[in-house]
Each structure stands twice: as C-alpha cells, then as structure tokens.
C-alpha cells in the first residue's frame, strides 16, 4: 500500500468538477482512497485527516492524493489524467489563430454578446466577476454564496444605475423566458411571475403550481438576503417592475424566507402600485406557509388545484406517496435534515407551532442556535445548504455526503423520533439522487430497528413530472426504502410531527392576501432591466461548468470563461480598485490619450543640450538602481560610457570610480521622459533623437542605435565599441541632425506614428523586428541626408550604417511609444500601466493613477534563441526600456502582425497569433492606428490594466533581446519574457490605497 501525493500549480478546477474527478479516481481498480482538490485550508485538513502527508502549498495549487497498491496508484493517476483532460478539452481553443478562451466574465460577454450572465465562482471573487456583467449592461445571476452583505448592496446599487438586475448572491434558481438557470425544475409556461428571495422556496412554489396545472412566466431570484434590512429589497423592486411591464405575466407571487418587517411593509406599498395582482409567500410566524400561499394564489390564477378538489373550503390534494410504514409512529424528537434553506425555515416555523423550540444552525431566534458540533437531544433542523456548511465544497443538492453521514448518526441516536428530509430535483441538482438517499434511509431504519426503535422517515420531494430525474420514480424509490413522500413541504412537516403523536390536522386557514393596483402602470418607459424578459436568452458563465452544461441542454447559447482565481492575496485590493467610481472613465481617458498622442521626429542633438545632462550624470534603463546591484550588461555599458566621456582611461579605473560613486549620478531614463534600449545608458555627449507629441505638448528622447552584436547597450565596452560611439558622435549625429532639421524646415517633422502603423502591416512588431520600419525611416531621411554639408565619404558611411541596421528604427519607435504612455500618465483612478522597464536586475512598472512610484520585482530571464555558441547560462535577466513598446500596444502585443519574428525570439506562428489575442484579456482597449491585418485589422491590444493582469494571472508578453550576463559580452540572443507578478500586485495595493469608495 502506498500514498501518492502531488501538487500541481496553475491547474484550477471548480469544486463540482473536482468532486466528479475525485470519484472517478477513487473508483479506479486498486485505489483504496483518493482526493483531488484545490489546496484550500479546509481541503488540506480533509486530506490530512485521511492520513495523507501533504507538503506546504498555496490555495491555487491542485492537490492529488491517491492511496493504493502500486498498480492502483498508476490506475488512479491515469484515471485522473483522463478525467482532467476531458474537463479541460471543453475549455481550450487551440486552432490556428483562434482566440484563447476568455478568462473573465467580461471577456466572455465581449466575445459572445451574451444578454445574461451567471456567476458561480467562490464567494470572495463573485463580486469582481458580477461587476463585469453590470458594466457590460447585462443582468447577472450570482449563484455564489459567502458574499459580504456590503458588497451585495454596492453591486445592486451599481446594477440599478446601469438598469440591469442582479439575481443573488446565493441565488439558487431562476427561470427567464422558459430557460432554467441554476437549480430549477422543469415547469410549464404560464402567466404567474415569481420573485424569489429564496431558492428552494421558489422551487417548492413552482412545483406546487405545476402540480396544480398552473405555469409560470418567469421566476426571478433575488438572493436570500434581498428582503433583509441591509439590502432593503433592492433587487426585488427591480424584478417586480420588470414583471409588471412583462406582457406574459398576469399575476405575481413573491417568495421569501422571513423578511425584515419594515422592508416587507415598504414592499407591500410598492407592490400596490404595480397594476397587477401580487401574492405573498413570505414566510414568518403567523403568516401562511408556502403551500397555503400557493393555494391562495391559485384561487386567483384559475388553476385546477392539485389532484383533488378545487373548492377552497376543502383540503387540497397535493401529491403524496406512501407505503406500508407510513403510519408507523416514532418517539423522541423531530430531526429535520435539509438541503433547502427556505424549506428548513418553513419546517421550523411549522414545527415551532406544535413542538415549541427547534434548534438549528439557522435558528429562528439566536438563542436556539446549535453548538458547533450541531448535536442536541431536542428538536433539531439543520440546513446543510447554509453558507457555513458549503465553504470549500459543493452544495448538498450536488454533493449529499455530509447529510448522508448525519442520517446515519441520527439513526444511532435514541432521542431521534422522526427524520424529516427534503429532496430537490430539477436542472442542476444531482442527476439521480434518490437511490443514494433511499439506501441511507433503509440503513437508518435498520439501525433503529436493531435497537428496537421505530424510525419513521418523511421526505418532502420538490420536483415536477417534467424533471429529468423523474418525480414518480424518485418518490417510489424512497417509499420502497420505507419513507413517506409528499410534494408539499408544509404537509411533509405536519406529517412528521403527526408521527410524533401530535395532532396537526385540520390546518387553520390562514389565507394569503393579494394587493391590487388602483391605477394602471405608468406609461411605458425604457424596458426595465435591459429587456431581460423579452430577449432571446444567451448566457455568459463563469465558475461551475455544470450550469453551462445544463443551459446547453436547453439549447441556450453559452460562453464559458476559463476562470481561475486572481493572483493570491489580492481579492481585497481588487474589490476596492474595481469599485473605484473613477476607474472606468479614467481608464477610458488614458486609452484615448494613448491613442491620440502624436510622435514627430523634430531634432537630433547631444544629450547635454537636449536633456541638460551634466558631466558625470548617466541615464540608464529601468527603475532606479545603484551601481553595486547593477547587472553585468548595465555595468559594462556604464564602464563604456565612462571611457567614452573620458572620465576614466581603463575599464578597471571606470569600474572603481563607478563603485565609489564620487561625482557620478545614475538616473533612470524615464525620470527625464527619455528611453534607452537594453542597458539604455545615455551620457552627456551622446546624441539623441528628439520627438514631440504636439497633442499633449510632451517631448521624449532616445539614443541613436549602434546596430547589433558587440555594442554598448548590450554591455560591451571594447575599443571597437568606443570607436563606433565616437564616429556616431562626430559623423552620424551631425549628418542626421542636418537631415532632420532640413526636412523639418521643408516638409515638416517626420511622423513616426504613421511609420509604426505601416510597419505593422509589413511584418514588423516594432520591438524585435524593425526591418520595414527602418527602411521607411531611411526613405524619409535619405533626401536630406545625402545633401548634408559633410564629406561624401562620411555621408556614404552614414547611409550605409543606417541602411545596414535592422534596428535603426527601434530608437524612434521607443520614444514614440513613450510619448503615447506619457500622455496617459497621471490620471487619478486609472489602473493603466504607463511604464514597463528593466535594468537587468529589477523589473519596474509605473501606473497612470499612482504617479511616479515604481513597483518592482526581480527581472525574469528571457527564454528564446541564442546566437552562435551562447546558451541559456550566458543570458542576463531582462533589461531595457524597450518594453515601452508593449506598454503602448506594439512589440509582443502585436506579435500576430509579425509571425516571422518567431524565427528570432522562439515560439511558433500559432504562438505569435495567440500572444496578441491573449493580450486583449489584459488591456483596456484597442489601438485605432496600430492594426493587425491577420486579425481582420483589429487594433492592437493597448493600455495594460493592472486589475486585469491580477485577475487573470496573464502577464504582459514581451519580446526582447538578450544581453550576456558578463559585462563586456554583448548580445547573446533574443527571446520572450514576462514581468514578475509582484509588480502588478504592488501596483494594485497602491491603487487600492488611493481608491475612492
């Protein structure tokens, strides 16, 4: 016997899927026990409790624990792979150029144009997803529970502003236009509209109506807390308005757990003005139970009234199934074990009338709360679907194991006199729940009988003849096990109490009351809740795939988001930043400015003039760094610059002076609005391009490109490097200056932005592939270069040098991108990234809404292709300001425009297409000037949003050159790299701190 325990990172599955996978693995031959679950604390506890030794892990890891003989473990693992692949295959797009599956609800809505959303991710992440729907202007059903009430209020207020409906949180059921969402029974269509602050309550009511031959138009769930004081019927009022305006709805039934009295009073006044009869199935002491409320409503809706008589004065014959043991009496206490919260509430309200105090985990009064072990010798009702019981596990309507255990425990308890259970059928529920429950009932009765006790069992079965599980078949299975089964939960409860020897008949007739409007509904305004009730339903879902499957089975178009939890530890910050009311508009403004920014080449001159650089000051790439922490290539480039500036005669002397730091200042290029590729070192005598954004009155600068190979920017500082820099200073720079100035005087500045949009259509992406851009730039410069006042041999050499350099354009594309992001910088509330830069040691980002603060983490080392005999060990971590291209929406973000680049940076063509399509998931919008032909001229993904990166875990894709890690080496290759995620989590934390509520 052996234990196999492994952790897998980056594999996220929902709890329902993992429950199914666990079962598949556990049933493989030779497996004795198995658990496959996300490594949450609760799950780890369970797995450790099974005796497995689980190493430390993060909650986003998948834990696989299998116990068995050698063959068993192997069989278990192979079953696991099979099951996971099957689950995954539905969730991945892999065709050439096919967009990857969206990771967020917002992405799924954008992709599909869905008009309704369904959220079932774990509660702490539910609001984030639901807000996507509200922002997109569509209604959303939030199945998730464990959502803080203040978040619910904020979400519902946002929804009201957007004119859409939030159903939930903790909304178990809804029927919209004949489509069942979440847990829902198959009921006939009709004219009764239901608003339900209760999932199983609504199901019970719909099933009773269906049994009476009455159909429903829509059932709008609003979440179990909507009628609490805190939420104050926010969604209920919207749902009522929608049903009032809906032509298919003739009367309305409101179903709820006991509501807050003042909310109920307010709602009654509101309902009176709707123009349609409204009936109340709102539970509470002294108010009618659900069955009585349905009977009252039926008097109005003209139903035939169950299977029995229709006369109001006689008892209605709701369906029931009984067997030989149905009149067997028990002695002791009532034990109600429920999956449905409202059914449990109703049972307690009725039981309290006859039996007095009933203890519960969801008590009617606080003093009746059960202890933590949920045991008591008196009357007990437990709601297994309560939030406290479902953390980290599926709802008991899907995973009944906890309740089945409790049934066995009750059987062995001599104080248990009668068992009252509920069973809910329909879409979303367990596909065949009766046999398992019947087995538990049979076993329980046998246990009691062995102890010479009677244990009567009563089941309230909520279902319809149309339900896939089969109402009669389920009922008969349970009756065969010795249970009495009733459709009405109220009657089931009374029967159970009766079996304890109490008189429960006849029932006092408490009739429900209907409210009628005096006038007709106000003139038709815009359709309430965005036309939800009249549109053809198409749904975007995030979370449990079971619900998506149930919708597909109903011929509803469904788009699923391939959701995974956000980067660990960020949910609080995310919620704060996403709720910042300034954010949407601030990000839209940032994008507008990025796209609108101009980039004109206006001059070429020495950095001392252009940037006011003083002797001894060196600009460098990336976030700030002191020399001691600098990487090889940055050190090499600084040494080279010292030699070039005549501040040292030898490399050793230069390094010693740099280490000492006397009279030497190191400063990021970005602090002067400049950019430098790779090491990015700019010293005062070096010449720089000067670009202007006239729209926003900004200027940016960048050094001249030295070509490839052994060059200063890659950290080389040999004599040939210094000689080339001198030539660039004395010959190339002045010629380019004359050329640009003459050109500006004659025809105006050179529009660099126009070249970028052209080059993207010619196979460049503007970061590591600049061939077309370089040629186009040369075409612009040549006429005035060749007429410059210089010896013809110098002009010839300058033209040859520029023409031979495939990256000639990079040093213009970068400042053009800098101007774009600079324009978007400094907008309060904006979460758009305006700088990504690396110094070879740290990766740093800056964000529009957080000013000039850098958020840094250790730079990753690129993976890619190497020049000559160099290999991965020779590569330095990521370096350079050139990631400004990705920040502005080109480079790695435009890889799809430049499939040939994979020969330079690695990967394959599908990867290049996928890379661009994936970046749309983390960007605010699309560039209007930079387009990708193969994506039907879609604009490049532009404006990285910190919140999207954190939510999806998708990191910006950067193409980059690779410098040798040893100073003086030069370029060793080119490849692909991403920023470290802490840049984004820190930025998010800063945004959260600055967020407005």
């Amino acid at each position: 016997m052996a234990d196999h325990v492994e952790l897998r990172s980056g594999a996220y599955f929902d709890s329902v899927t993992l429950m199914q996978v666990s079962r598949t693995v556990a049933s493989a031959p030779g497996v004795e026990a198995a658990q496959v679950a996300m490594a949450t604390e609760l799950n780890l506890e369970v797995i450790r409790g099974m005796g497995f030794d689980v190493p430390g892990s993060a909650p986003n890891d998948l834990v696989v624990a299998i116990r068995g003989d050698e063959d068993g473990v192997a069989a278990g693992l192979s079953a696991l792979e099979g099951a996971l692949t099957q689950k995954r295959s539905a969730a991945s797009g892999s065709g050439l150029g096919e967009a990857p599956q969206p990771r967020t609800l917002g992405g799924a809505i954008r992709l599909s144009g869905a008009d309704l959303a369904l959220v079932s991710v774990p509660g702490e992440h539910a609001i984030t997803e639901a807000l996507d729907a509200v922002r997109a202007g569509i209604s959303v059903l939030v199945f998730s529970d464990n959502v803080p009430v203040e978040d619910e209020v904020a979400l519902k207020d946002a929804a009201a502003r957007a004119g859409v409906l939030v159903m939930g949180p903790d909304c178990g059921t809804a029927v919209v236009g004949g489509v069942a969402l979440g847990f829902a029974n198959v009921v006939r269509q009709g004219s009764v509209g239901i608003v339900a602050a209760s999932g199983t309550g609504a199901q019970q009511v719909m099933c009773l109506l269906d049994a009476a031959g009455v159909g429903i138009s829509h059932c709008l769930g609003v979440g179990g807390r909507d009628l609490s004081s805190a939420v104050a019927a926010r969604s209920t009022k919207q749902a009522l308005a929608a049903l009032a305006a809906d032509p298919a709805t003739e009367s309305i039934l409101i179903v709820s757990k006991p509501p807050a009295p003042e909310v109920l009073a307010d709602l009654e006044a509101y309902a009176a003005g709707l123009g349609k009869p409204v009936h109340w199935a709102t539970l509470g002491a002294g108010r009618p139970d659900l069955t009585a409320a349905v009977e009252a409503a039926l008097g109005n809706a003209g139903g035939t009234g169950g299977t029995g008589a229709t006369d109001e004065t006689t008892e209605r014959g709701w369906p029931e199934w009984s067997g030989p043991s149905s009149d067997e009496l028990g002695s002791g206490s009532l034990r109600g074990l429920f999956c449905g919260g409202t059914l449990a509430d109703e049972a307690m309200l009725i039981a309290a009338e006859y039996l007095g105090d009933v203890r519960s985990n969801t008590p009617l009064r606080p003093e009746l709360a059960l202890r933590a072990d949920l045991r008591d010798t008196g009357h007990v009702v437990i709601d297994f679907g309560d939030d406290s019981m479902t953390q980290g596990r599926a709802h008991p309507m899907i995973d009944p194991s906890l309740r089945l255990e409790r049934i066995a425990a009750e059987a062995a308890d001599p104080t248990c006199g009668v068992l009252l259970l509920d069973l809910v059928l329909g879409h979303g529920a367990h596909p065949d729940p009766a046999p398992e429950l019947a087995e538990a009932i049979r076993a329980a009765r046998e246990t009691a009988a062995a102890d010479s006790r009677n244990l009567p069992v009563v089941v309230s079965l909520t279902g319809t003849t149309g339900d896939p599980q089969g109402l009669d078949r389920c009922a008969e299975t349970l009756v065969a096990a010795g249970a009495t089964v009733l459709l009405s939960n109220a009657l089931a409860t009374r029967h159970a109490i009766h079996l304890l020897g109490r008189e429960t008949w006849p029932v006092g007739t408490t009739t429900g009351h209907a409210a009628y409007a005096s006038g007709s509904l106000a003139a038709a305004g815009p359709e309430p809740v965005g036309g939800l009730l009249t549109q053809d339903v198409s749904v975007a879902t995030v979370g449990v795939s079971l619900f998506a499957d149930a919708l597909r089975a109903q011929a509803v178009p469904v788009t699923e988001a391939a959701w995974q939890p956000p980067i660990a530890g960020t949910s609080g910050d995310l919620a704060r930043v996403l709720a910042d009311p300034r954010r949407d508009e601030a990000n839209a403004e940032a994008l507008r400015r990025m796209v609108a920014a101009g980039a004109d080449l206006v001059d070429v001159r020495p950095a001392s003039q252009a940037l006011g650089l003083e002797r001894g000051t060196f600009l460098h790439a990336g976030p700030p760094i002191e020399f001691a922490r600098a990487s090889g290539p940055l050190k090499g480039a600084l040494i080279g610059a010292m030699l070039f500036e005549g501040l040292a005669d030898t490399a050793d002397e230069a390094e010693a002076k740099l280490e000492k730091g006397d009279g030497i200042t190191l400063e990021p290029c970005h602090h002067r609005d400049a950019v430098g590729p790779m090491a990015g070192v700019i010293s005062p005598s070096m010449w720089v391009y000067e670009l202007r954004d006239e729209v926003h009155d900004n200027t940016s600068w960048c050094s001249l490109n030295e070509g490839l190979g052994k060059v200063l920017r890659y950290g080389a500082y040999g004599p040939e490097v210094i000689d080339r820099l001198r030539w660039m200073n004395t010959v190339l720079g002045p010629i380019l200056q004359q050329s640009v100035r003459t050109r500006v005087g004659r025809e105006g500045a050179i529009d660099i932005k126009a070249i970028i949009s052209q080059m993207l259509q010619m196979g460049d992406e503007g970061h590591n592939r600049n061939r077309a851009g370089s040629l186009m730039l040369l075409r612009e410069l040549l006429p005035t270069m060749i007429t410059a006042d210089a010896p013809s041999s110098d002009i010839a050499e300058a033209v040859r040098f520029s023409g031979a350099n495939e990256h000639f354009f990079l040093n213009l594309g970068m400042p053009a991108c800098k101007l774009s992001t600079l324009a978007a910088h400094g907008i309060p509330g904006s979460s758009v990234v305006t700088t990504m830069a690396r110094n070879g040691t740290d990766f740093g980002i800056r964000v529009s809404g957080t000013g000039d603060e850098w958020f840094t983490g250790p730079a990753n080392t690129p993976e890619g292709l190497f020049l000559g005999s160099y290999g991965p060990d020779d590569a330095n971590p990521d370096i350079g300001d050139s990631a400004i291209t990705e920040t502005a929406g080109i480079g790695g973000f435009a890889m799809a425009a430049a499939p040939a680049i994979v020969k330079f940076v690695g990967g394959d063509v599908p990867f290049a297409l996928r890379a661009t399509q994936t970046m749309y998931e983390i960007t605010t919008g699309e560039h209007t000037a930079y387009q990708v032909p193969i994506l039907e001229f879609r604009g490049t993904p532009t404006g990285i949003d910190v919140t999207s990166v954190v939510r999806t875990g998708i990191l910006p894709q950067i193409n980059t050159g690779m410098a040798g890690r040893v100073a003086g080496t030069g370029q060793v290759g080119a490849g692909l790299v991403t920023p470290p995620d802490q840049c984004f989590t820190q930025a998010l934390a800063a945004l959260a701190k600055a967020a407005r509520a």
């Binding site: 236009g177 004949g178 489509v179 269509q189 032509p247 298919a248 009249t534 549109q535 053809d536 198409s538 919708l551 597909r552 089975a553 109903q554 011929a555 509803v556 178009p557 469904v558």
Partner: protein, 276 residues
C-alpha cells in the same frame, strides 16, 4: 441516458408555431432548402414549414433553433432529402435535434399610433408605393384582391420581394390599435391566406406568421418602435441587412403602409376618439 446509441442529441429551442407537428407522431418530411445556417423542412401543408436554425441564423418565428453556430453544425442533407419529424425531435442523418424548450418568438401587439419624425425608409420605392396602394384600398374598405395579386409571389428567391412587402404591411397594420387598421389587416390577411399557393412554401409560412404578428426580433422591435414614433436608426440598419433584399422589401412595405394609415386617420380624425 442514450449511451450505446450512436446518435448525437442537439438540444433546440422551439417556436410554439411548430409545436403541433413536432410533437405529433413521427413522419417523413422533405427538405425544401438547405443552407449552412438553416434547413427548411415542409410539414405537410403548403404553408407549413419548419426552419432548423443554427444559432447564428436569422431567428425566424417558425424555427427550431440550436445553440450551436453554423460552423459547428453539418446538416448532412440537401434539398429534396427526407428527415423524420415528430415525437419532439427532428431526426437528421448524423444527429437528432431535440426540442428542449419552448421559445415564444417576439410579436407585434396593437398599440396607439404616435407619428414621430419621418422614419423607416425615406424612399420606399415601387414596393412602397404598391404597399401604400394596397393599404389605402384596405383601409378604405375597397377590394384588396388586385393589390394582393400584384404583390404575392412577385420576385425571385425563397421569399419573393412582394411577399416581404406584404409581411411588412401585415405587421404594420397589426401593430396599430385602431378599428380601421384591424379591419384592413383582416381583409388583407384573408386574401393572402386564400392565395398562399401563389408563392413558395417558406414565404407562405412567413406570411402566415406575419399575419399573427410574428417576425424576426429586430423587425418586431423596429415596427413596434415606428408605430409609436420612436426613431431607431441602428435597428433600421440591422433590418436592411436581412437577407439579400428581404429587409429592405419588408421595410418598404412597413413604410408605405404607415404612410397610408396616417393619411387615412388624418382624413377621419374622429376615429381616434372612439377607439375601441
């Protein structure tokens, strides 16, 4: 539940207009036309047609509609082939389409005419004129026979242009709550019903549906809006994009009819006062 059977089940939402034949005992039915996005199947009578629609097909009111786009559906059938319709499903060679739920198509409902800014088509053309003439005759209680005869079945294709214009006329008259409009609607519809064999089966089926107020959702929304004087330029664009010329033809019919109706109601203002 169908393990062991080599058949794929494709759930579909079904228009109640088809429910009778689909729920009936299984019968062999002929495919009238086959396109990547839809398959038209006759249902016995000339004007009874079932449209099997992919999710990206036009949402016709006589449809059994899948949740899958055309790219993921292969009917495996051509016009003239046979399928079995009944017992809640349509049996195709490679799959069974199952009616999983009822989907009520949107429908124009009579509402008060509120003339707004001139909308619909500025130039409804010859079809608009013909619809105008037919509507004027119907509203004045004159014979609608020549008008209907001139339009019904006139034009090429599965839904001839004249039929589209009549659909527009029926929808527009059906959307106005005035006794005169109701009478005109009934007169035209009776004439159309008597002559359905003059056009294609599919067009006949759509004419019958339009007579009951049913059309594709954008058309219903547009007609409802036009009647109550609400301009919706983006809806107009979407309707114009329907079919090769169907959207334009239909809108010509709507425009001509509404103009006739306004002229008719103007000449007898007292009718508005005694609306029933």
């Amino acid at each position: 539940m169908d393990d062991g059977l080599d058949v794929t089940l494709l759930p579909a939402s079904m228009s109640p207009l088809l429910a009778a034949e689909v729920a009936d005992a299984p019968r062999r039915r002929r495919v009238v036309a086959a396109f990547p996005t839809c398959l038209y199947v006759e249902l016995g009578a000339h004007e009874r047609v079932l449209a099997l629609l992919a999710s990206d097909a036009l949402a016709l009111p006589i449809g059994l509609r899948l949740a899958l786009p055309a790219a993921e559906v292969d009917w495996g059938l051509e016009a003239g082939a046979h399928v079995v319709v009944g017992q809640g499903r349509v049996r195709l060679p490679r799959a069974d389409v199952v009616a999983a739920r009822l989907q009520h198509p949107p429908r124009v409902r009579p509402a008060q005419r509120r003339p707004g800014p001139p909308t619909g088509l500025r130039e409804p053309g010859v079809l608009g004129d013909l619809a105008h003439e037919l509507a004027t005759a119907a509203l004045a209680g004159r014979s609608v026979d020549p008008g209907v005869r001139g339009l019904l079945g006139a034009g090429r294709g599965l839904t001839p242009s004249g039929d589209d214009a009549i659909c527009g006329l029926l929808l527009a008259l059906g959307a106005v709550d005035a006794p005169r409009a109701r009478r005109a609607h009934a007169a035209v519809l009776a004439e159309v019903r008597a002559r359905l064999t003059a056009t294609t089966s599919l067009s006949a089926a759509l004419l019958v549906a339009a007579g009951a107020g049913y059309a594709v959702p954008d058309v219903v929304r547009l007609v409802t809006g036009l009647v109550s004087g609400v301009a919706a330029p983006e809806l107009v664009d979407r309707v114009l994009a329907i079919g090769h010329s169907s959207g334009r033809d239909l809108l010509s019919g709507v425009t001509g009819t509404l103009r006739a109706l306004d002229a008719s109601l103007e000449t007898t203002p007292q009718e508005g006062a005694c609306r029933g």
